[in-house]
């Protein structure tokens, strides 16, 4: 098992480094597309903490994603760039606070009710921004100028530059992965897996499971907020669509497609989902049928659900797992 784990780690590290080299070879279009995918990967990893490691299936995760986007847009005076040092912690902090408050309520439910209540909270936010003038209604608001970090005269990081933005997002994605891996290896992470596996037994052992679930919910919401913040900066505008249940559904599909409970699976899922979406909706590839890309997307998800129960990550991890069990029996 050690060997296959190492092989997997090396594969993932190689893929991450390959991504690092990418902007030098390819066009701006693909650099931006990959930035978008890496943002979705952060979003999907944050959801995996709930779905794959705590056993909480949320269908309202876009609430945090969109809330952070609106937070940075509303905090920024028009025709000025958002200040990275204040707006990023503020947006992420707001999402954590929103998760803490809503978590107190949604975590009193479980199973299908949990799905419904998380969806309901996200829809409330959607209609708050859709039906009021708070965030420009259904048109949304623009962020015209992107943040820049300067040291004297030299620009250290200019997020208006596609490459700079790409590397900024890459660092964030790696940092989130490393952070979550560390957390999941801790006593806290092990307790979450225990709750996912058998919550009743965890309580009997003396774990106040509600607190653990709430902490996971807040952490997950905050990281989803980080993704939403980055997305708002990349696209330069936010509208209610980023809070809609389509968005919550898409990120859940990325997690399932990639393989929940693996952390790297949802990253693969984000790549697969967005790239498939690009391909299926590309008229140059599929002609007039590209209009109906969601049909093909649905078919792809069904195929994975039927034939790859462990998601795409299962393709990478499965041989190792089999070997481990055989070695154990022998």
């Amino acid at each position: 098992m050690q060997q296959s784990t190492r092989a997997l780690t090396l594969t993932l590290a190689a893929a991450a480094l390959l991504l690092l080299a990418f902007p030098f070879a390819e066009s701006k279009f693909y650099t931006q597309l990959l930035s978008k995918i890496m943002i979705m990967a952060i979003f999907a990893m944050s959801l995996d903490l709930l779905v794959g490691y705590t056993g909480l299936i949320s269908l309202g995760h876009a609430a945090f994603f969109g809330l952070a986007g609106y937070a940075v847009a509303l905090m920024t005076p028009q025709y000025e760039a958002p200040d990275l040092w204040t707006s990023l912690p503020a947006a992420v902090g707001l999402c954590a606070a929103f998760a803490l408050v809503t978590g107190f309520l949604v975590l009193r439910t479980s199973g299908v009710y949990f799905i419904m209540v998380t969806l309901a909270f996200a829809q409330m936010l959607f209609f708050l921004f859709h039906d009021t003038k708070l965030g420009g209604g259904s048109d949304g608001i623009y962020i015209y100028i992107k943040p820049e970090i300067r040291l004297g005269e030299t620009s250290l990081l200019n997020l208006d530059d596609a490459r700079h933005f790409y590397y900024f997002v890459w660092i964030m994605m790696i940092a989130v992965y490393g952070f979550l891996r560390t957390v999941l290896r801790s006593t806290f992470g092990h307790a979450l897996l225990g709750i996912k596996t058998n919550e009743h037994r965890m309580r009997a052992l003396g774990f106040a499971t509600f607190r653990y679930k709430l902490a996971a919910y807040v952490l997950s919401g905050a990281l989803a907020g980080l993704a939403g913040y980055l997305a708002a900066l990349q696209f330069g505008f936010v509208n209610p669509e980023i809070l809609s249940w389509h968005q919550s559904g898409a990120v859940l599909m990325m997690v399932i497609l990639g393989g929940m409970g693996t952390l790297f699976g949802p990253v693969i899922g984000a790549f697969a989902f967005v790239l498939l979406q690009e391909m299926f909706s590309n008229q140059a590839v599929l002609g007039a049928f590209a209009k109906h890309w969601q049909l093909l997307m649905g078919a792809a998800v069904i195929l994975v659900a039927l034939y790859l129960p462990g998601g795409l990550a299962g393709l990478l991890a499965r041989p190792g797992r089999k070997k481990a069990i055989e070695a154990d029996d022998g």
Binding site: S186, F188, G206, D328
Partner: protein
């Protein structure tokens, strides 16, 4: 023997029209195994669930070290020092034996929120887990996934997990069910040893085991206590002879 560490007063649980536990009053003492026997459906498991907080009583009360446990949830009762094992094996099947015990031990320590340190890196937790595995006879199975254990070994793990939480009161719900004779003997011996500094409530159908370790015996029928007292006196009671086990099995011991 001093004050009971745990006692119940008129403990009652109704499910709709059915009274599963009917005005049960009993006392558990440190240093004593209190066996509860009775036919299936007598309310023994429900009684355990009431003591552990898995179910709230309809009426009556549970006192632990002079404290009324009313309204406390199962995790709070567990942290106070009341541990239980389940009649139906209730373990973490995908985890290793060690991780099952480690997780149980972890619930007792203040390390839960140290999120940047590996879970396996706490010597005090690991030691509790190792001791519990050793006591339950599972040290050789340390790295096996729980799902791959035999039924009897899973029962042993059930007890090991309970021990890893360092309880003062042990509620053991048919710990020997499904165990082979060798493991059974081992667990009976373990219960005897633990009785020295724990209060134990033992629900068990194996009469040989019950009479070898019990210092006090309660017989339940239809949710009510039929007889309670010294095991030999209870065994001789005509009411017990009539109502339970058709006389034979109890006399054979």
């Amino acid at each position: 023997m001093g004050d009971p560490i745990l006692r119940t007063e008129g403990l009652t649980k109704r499910f709709g029209g059915l009274t599963a536990v009917d005005r049960v009053s009993l006392e558990l003492y440190v240093g004593q195994v209190h066996a509860v026997i009775g036919p299936n459906g007598a309310g023994k498991s429900t009684l355990t669930n009431l003591l552990s907080g898995d179910l709230p009583p309809t009426s009556g009360s549970v006192w632990y070290r002079g404290r009324d446990l009313a309204g406390l949830k199962s995790d709070e009762i567990s942290r106070l020092g009341v541990g239980r094992s389940y009649q139906k094996t209730n373990i973490f099947l995908p985890f290793t034996v060690f991780e099952n015990c480690r997780l149980a031990a972890q619930s007792r320590t203040p390390h839960a929120w140290r999120i940047f340190r590996r879970a396996e890196g706490f010597a005090d937790i690991n030691r509790l887990a190792e001791e519990a595995m050793e006591a339950a006879g599972l040290a050789a199975r340390r790295d096996r996934v729980a799902a791959t254990l035999s039924h009897g070994e899973q029962r042993q793990l059930e007890i090991a997990m309970c021990l890893a939480t360092r309880p003062r009161v042990l509620l053991l719900d048919e710990p020997l069910a499904g165990m082979g004779p060798h493991e059974s003997l081992r667990i009976v011996e373990l219960i005897g040893r633990l009785a020295a500094d724990h209060a134990i409530m033992l629900i068990e159908h194996d009469m040989e085991a019950v009479f070898s370790v019990a210092g006090h015996l309660t017989v339940m029928v239809n949710g009510e206590v039929l007889e309670s007292g010294e095991p030999e006196a209870v065994r001789a009671s005509p009411a017990v002879q009539m109502a339970y086990l058709g006389g034979e099995e109890l006399l054979d011991v």
